[in-house]
């Protein structure tokens, strides 16, 4: 059976005065019912644009879109606005980062929920109001009968996000896209919201795409993870694969640059040098090469493709380093060595490369 959502070679570009912005550059992913896909990346990596495009929300912004977005076999990318409107908020719903700016300040929360229901369902307003109360109760808002008649400003940040989730769930969507759903919230409230999403997914069986920059959040929620950099997915695998045997230097960089509660305190952070590239004037070859500590000359020319890792075919990576070299580097990084000491070129005299396989990999790098 084909997956619920199947995105194939999606490309989104925006024409601006300065040139063409390649916001999303040929990404493919899929999600299935009851599964959670995490998309991780920094600002400007294209993670939000790709999901907005799924719902047709970039159409009015002059986006050039190509590729396929198959939802239950239908291509959302080639649908008319009218057809798409029937799916959006109904079968696919989205929650946004900032709940204050996504709720209308002039209307009562209940009225906004009723609107979301009645757009897609032919029901009386009293039935819809009852449903609104039910929804607020579902997302754990205390005293829902009173709360439906309140305005968004009377809600706290966490409750607004719950109200947003209630609105997204109004029509029991099959797919929920959550774009940084907890970034604006405090940790204790974040934990509540993540637990709520998890619980709702178990009860309603929907698929979730969670977009975030927080590796902790995806580790706890996602089944599969796509790591995005400069408009592309540079690594894709199960959550365990991404965290236990990450393959891409960018993923290593992310994992080593965050301070963690579960490692020793004195461990030095290893930041990724430089900053994300411009999406108008993109680097040649591998997009990550200007920031990659393991770059070789040919990486400036050859553009890597997302390919399966030989030892683990459902784990894909777009990196030109040999698999053995990657294994050796990640092992070294985990032991707390610096990226400089693990450079493929310098590795022949590197005492860290002891295993036979890593030696041969290192020689490959020395060419």
């Amino acid at each position: 059976m084909s997956p619920l959502l199947d995105v194939e070679d999606l490309r989104v570009t925006f024409a601006t005065e300065d040139g063409l912005v390649h916001a999303v550059d040929g990404i493919s992913y899929s999600v299935d019912t009851s599964k959670t896909l995490g998309i991780v990346g920094e600002s400007g990596s294209g993670k939000s644009v790709s999901s907005l495009t799924t719902l047709g929300l970039t159409r009015n912004q002059g986006a050039e879109i190509s590729g396929q977005i198959l939802f239950e076999g239908q291509d959302l990318a080639s649908m008319t606005d009218d057809q798409l409107r029937r799916i959006r908020g109904n079968e696919i719903a989205m929650i946004f980062q900032d709940p204050l700016s996504s709720l209308h300040p002039f209307y009562k929360v209940g009225a906004q929920l009723v609107e979301a229901i009645r757009i897609h369902r032919d029901v009386s307003s009293s039935t819809a109001s009852d449903r609104a109360v039910e929804l607020l109760e579902l997302v754990g808002i205390p005293d829902p009968l009173r709360r439906v008649n309140q305005y968004p400003h009377e809600f706290s940040g966490g409750m607004r996000q719950r109200a947003m989730i209630a609105m997204a769930l109004a029509n029991e969507p099959k797919l929920l896209i959550a774009d940084e759903p907890t970034t604006a919230l405090d940790v204790t409230v974040q934990a509540q919201i993540l637990a709520l999403l998890d619980d709702l997914q178990r009860r309603l069986g929907m698929a979730i795409i969670i977009i975030t920059h927080d590796l902790g959040v995806v580790a706890e929620t996602a089944d599969e993870i796509g790591v995005m950099y400069a408009g592309r997915i540079v690594e894709h695998g199960s959550t365990a694969q991404i965290f236990n045997t990450p393959q891409h230097p960018y993923t290593w960089g992310l994992l080593k640059s965050i301070p963690r509660l579960d490692v020793m305190r004195d461990e030095e952070l290893v930041p990724i040098s430089g900053r994300p590239p411009s999406l108008i004037h993109r680097p040649s070859g591998c997009f990550f090469h200007p920031r990659c500590p393991y770059v070789r000359d040919e990486h400036r020319r050859i553009d890597p493709r997302l390919e399966p890792v030989p030892s683990d075919t459902d784990h894909q990576v777009a990196c030109l380093l040999e698999p053995e070299v990657r294994t050796r580097i990640w092992r070294g990084l985990k032991e707390g060595q610096t990226p400089a000491s693990l450079r493929p070129l310098a590795s022949e005299s590197n005492p860290a490369a002891t295993a036979g396989t890593s030696q041969s990999g290192a020689q490959g790098g020395g060419e």
Partner: protein, 351 residues
């Protein structure tokens, strides 16, 4: 409060800040107060990094602003080098600002967009009439830029030409220009991308080593605080609820609120994060009308009658940990709530 005989660089005694809530336009009448900071005391010895953590509205940023005297305290003392600076004004305040500087959260709104980087960083010199010769001043500024990892040739550029991480470096350069003794960093990395965060954190650590700075580091991010700080104060609704060394706090939190905070942090380790989560219900109550007695009792899983009749004092609960709680967490409770990986890391560090 003295710390093992060391004279603290900064000592805060019973610091209070209430923001009045008023009604009426011309004849304003005070009808209440937001108790942003309500009677806190702590001391920071020279060279130490003290972390202030807590959620939105707990008073951590207000505390920072009171310490740099961007706000006037309602009552209480701020002793800097033994001198009470809480009521300083005019020239005295200006002199204080040579010693105490601040780094702000938002690198976009804390730099004047109409000024060049050179003049932004030179501003402290202009205010304090230092390095009056323009050549000399420029040289000083360029040395500072080099020190924080900016290209000195970018002296004449404007803030919009820099990325968030670089702007935060500009803010750091401006803050260390006068070689202050105390630097207060209010959420210095929360507006930055993860890969850039580490660059700024490493910079702050390096500068602290090189200049012997005392640092007060404010953040809502518990992992960042643990990485940066020697001691940590946890705030809740204007009060310090727990104050302990970083190692003690993170291995054995005593206040149920601290425990709940730790338990809520998502750990980037699938499988390792399995634990019984102590999820707090509800939101932080309003600081305009905080709960009576122990302010945490409305959300506390361990609250008993005593908690809403009597306010617990901040007192010693074991080696080096101060906590304000009648019924502090026990070893077993901590082990249940915290991520397995966390307790494992601590076990290996304590042996």
């Amino acid at each position: 409060m003295t710390l093992d005989g060391v004279t603290p660089l900064l000592e805060v005694r019973n610091l209070v800040k209430y923001f009045p809530i008023t009604r009426g336009i011309i004849f304003q009448k005070q009808i209440g107060a937001v108790k942003a900071v309500d009677d806190i005391s702590f001391a920071v010895p020279p060279g130490e990094t003290l972390g202030l953590v807590g959620e939105t509205g707990c008073g951590k940023s207000t505390t920072a602003r009171l310490l740099v005297r961007l706000l006037d305290p309602t009552s209480g003392q701020v002793l800097f080098d033994g001198e009470d600076v809480a009521q300083h004004k005019g020239p005295e305040l200006k002199a204080l600002h040579r010693e105490v500087q601040m780094i702000f959260q938002d690198p976009y709104s804390s730099l004047n967009p109409r000024k060049t980087i050179g003049s932004i960083i030179a501003e402290p010199f202009a205010i304090h009439d230092m390095y009056a010769g323009s050549g000399e001043r420029k040289q000083q500024v360029q040395e500072l830029m080099d020190r924080v990892g900016l290209n000195p040739e970018h002296y004449n550029r404007y803030p919009h030409e820099f990325s968030g991480g670089q702007r935060q470096r500009i803010g750091v350069a401006r803050a260390i220009a006068l070689e202050p003794k105390l630097l207060i960093a209010d959420e210095p990395v929360s507006a930055l991308d993860v890969s850039i965060q580490a660059q700024v954190l490493n910079l702050l650590k390096r500068l602290q080593r090189e200049m012997g700075l005392t640092l007060i580091f404010i953040s809502h991010d518990l992992s960042v605080v643990r990485h940066m700080c020697d001691r940590v104060a946890v705030m809740y609704l204007g009060k310090i609820v727990e104050l302990a060394s970083s190692d003690a706090l993170y291995s054995f939190p005593r206040h149920p609120y601290t425990g709940a905070l730790f338990s809520a942090v998502p750990v980037p380790d699938p499988g390792g994060g399995k634990r019984q989560r102590a999820l707090l219900s509800g939101d932080v109550p309003s600081p305009a009308n905080p709960p009576r007695a122990c302010r945490f009792h409305t959300r506390c899983p361990k609250a008993q009658e005593l908690c809403w009749t009597e306010e617990p004092p901040l007192e010693d609960k074991g080696p080096g940990t101060l906590a304000a709680c009648h019924f502090p967490l026990t070893r077993e409770e901590v082990e249940q709530q915290l991520p397995a990986a966390l307790t494992a890391a601590q076990a290996s560090s304590s042996t």
